[in-house]
C-alpha cells in the first residue's frame, strides 16, 4: 500500500457520498441517505492489524488470569503483560476511543500447586508461540510501513516464550 493512498481514497469516497446526498434531497426515496455512510473497505493492513490485535487481547486476558491466581510468578507475568499492552497501543490506529485493555476478573483459588503453575505457564508459552507464528506470517504479507512493527512483535513473543519456558520445568 502506498502511504496516504488509502486516506485519499477515503476522502474521495466521502466527497462522492456528500454529493450524492445533496442530489437526492427532496426525493421520496432519500431514506438511504440518512443511514450511516458506508465505511471504506478494509485494507489488507487493516485486516492484519485486526488479526494481531485479536491475538494480543487474548494474551492480555490469559496473563490477567494467571497473575490473579499465581502471585509467586506475578512479577514476571506483569512484565510480559505490559509488553502486550504496548503492542495493543502500537497496533491500534490513532483513535482515542479505540484503546481497550481487557482485564479479567478472577478470584484467586485457595490452593495453588506447583503443578498448576507449570500447567498455566505452559499454556502461556503455547499462546506466545502461536502468536509469534501468526505474526511472522502476517509480517511477510504486510506493507512496508506495517511489516517492521509486526516483525518486532513477533520477536517479542518469541522472546516471551523463551523467558517463560524455564518456569515450566
Amino acid at each position: 500500500m502506498v502511504p496516504g493512498q488509502g486516506s485519499s481514497r477515503r476522502v474521495v469516497l466521502g466527497t462522492l457520498s456528500l454529493a450524492a446526498t445533496n442530489a437526492l434531497v427532496g426525493c421520496s426515496w432519500t431514506r438511504a441517505a440518512r443511514e450511516p455512510a458506508a465505511t471504506p473497505a478494509a485494507t489488507a493492513d487493516d485486516i492484519l492489524r485486526g488479526s494481531a490485535l485479536e491475538s494480543e487481547h487474548a494474551l492480555l486476558v490469559a496473563y490477567d488470569r494467571a497473575i490473579a491466581v499465581y502471585p509467586s510468578i506475578a512479577a514476571t507475568l506483569r512484565a510480559v503483560r505490559a509488553h502486550h499492552a504496548e503492542h495493543v497501543s502500537r497496533l491500534v490506529p490513532v483513535t482515542p476511543t479505540a484503546t481497550v485493555t481487557p482485564t479479567a476478573t478472577v478470584t484467586p483459588t485457595a490452593t495453588v500447586t506447583a503443578d498448576a503453575v507449570q500447567v498455566t505457564v505452559a499454556g502461556l508459552v503455547k499462546l506466545e508461540r502461536a502468536a509469534a507464528t501468526s505474526l511472522r506470517t502476517q509480517c511477510l504479507a504486510a506493507s512496508a510501513s506495517l511489516a517492521p512493527l509486526l516483525a518486532s512483535i513477533h520477536a517479542a513473543e518469541t522472546a516471551h516464550a523463551d523467558l517463560l519456558a524455564p518456569l515450566v520445568g
Partner: protein, 158 residues
C-alpha cells in the same frame, strides 16, 4: 545453458541489507571478543560462554546469508573492518554479558530498519534474525542478573 539472470536492481534493499551486514560483521567480532574474555573467567562463566558461542554462530551464519542476498541483488557486500572499538571494556562476567546484549540490540535496530524495504525470502530471513537477536539479548541480560522486566524488550529493534 545460460546463467540465470540476477534479480533486478533493488537499491533500497541492497542499502538496508548492507547496513545490517556491516552490523553483523561487528557482531561476529564482538561475540568472538566476548568469548575470549569469558574464557579467562572459567569455570564460573561456562554458561555465559555458551551464550557467546551461540551469538558467534548465529551472527556468522546471518553474515554469510546477507552477503549472498546482496550479491544476488547485484550489489557489493561491504567487507568487515580489521577491528572494532568495543562500546565498553568490562572484563567482569556481567559486563561481558551486557556487551553481548548490547550488540544484539544494535543488530536488532538494523534488522528492524531493513524489514520494510525487503520482501519475500529477504524479509523472512531478517524477521527470523530479529527474533533470534531478541532472544539472545534477553538471555544475556538475564544471565547478567537483570530481572525479567528489565531484560525483556517490548518491541525489539524499534
Amino acid at each position: 545453458m545460460p546463467a540465470q539472470d540476477p534479480r533486478p536492481p533493488d537499491p533500497a534493499a541492497v542499502w538496508r541489507l548492507s547496513d545490517l551486514l556491516a552490523m553483523e560483521h561487528a557482531a561476529v567480532y564482538v561475540a568472538a571478543a566476548a568469548g575470549g574474555e569469558l574464557a579467562a573467567l572459567r569455570p564460573v562463566a561456562e554458561s555465559a560462554r555458551v551464550l557467546a558461542q551461540n551469538a558467534f554462530t548465529a551472527h556468522r551464519e546471518l553474515r554469510d546469508r546477507l552477503v549472498a542476498e546482496i550479491l544476488d541483488r547485484g550489489g557489493t557486500a561491504p567487507p568487515a573492518q580489521a577491528a572494532y572499538r568495543l562500546p565498553a571494556v568490562s572484563t567482569d562476567l556481567a559486563g561481558v554479558l551486557l556487551l553481548l546484549a548490547d550488540i544484539e540490540d544494535r543488530c536488532s535496530a538494523a534488522a528492524y530498519d531493513a524489514i520494510g524495504d525487503l520482501t519475500g525470502n529477504g524479509r523472512a530471513l531478517v524477521t527470523d534474525a530479529l527474533a533470534g537477536m531478541a532472544v539472545r539479548g534477553q538471555q544475556a541480560r538475564i544471565a547478567a542478573g537483570q530481572p525479567a522486566g528489565q531484560a525483556a524488550r517490548a518491541l525489539p529493534g524499534a
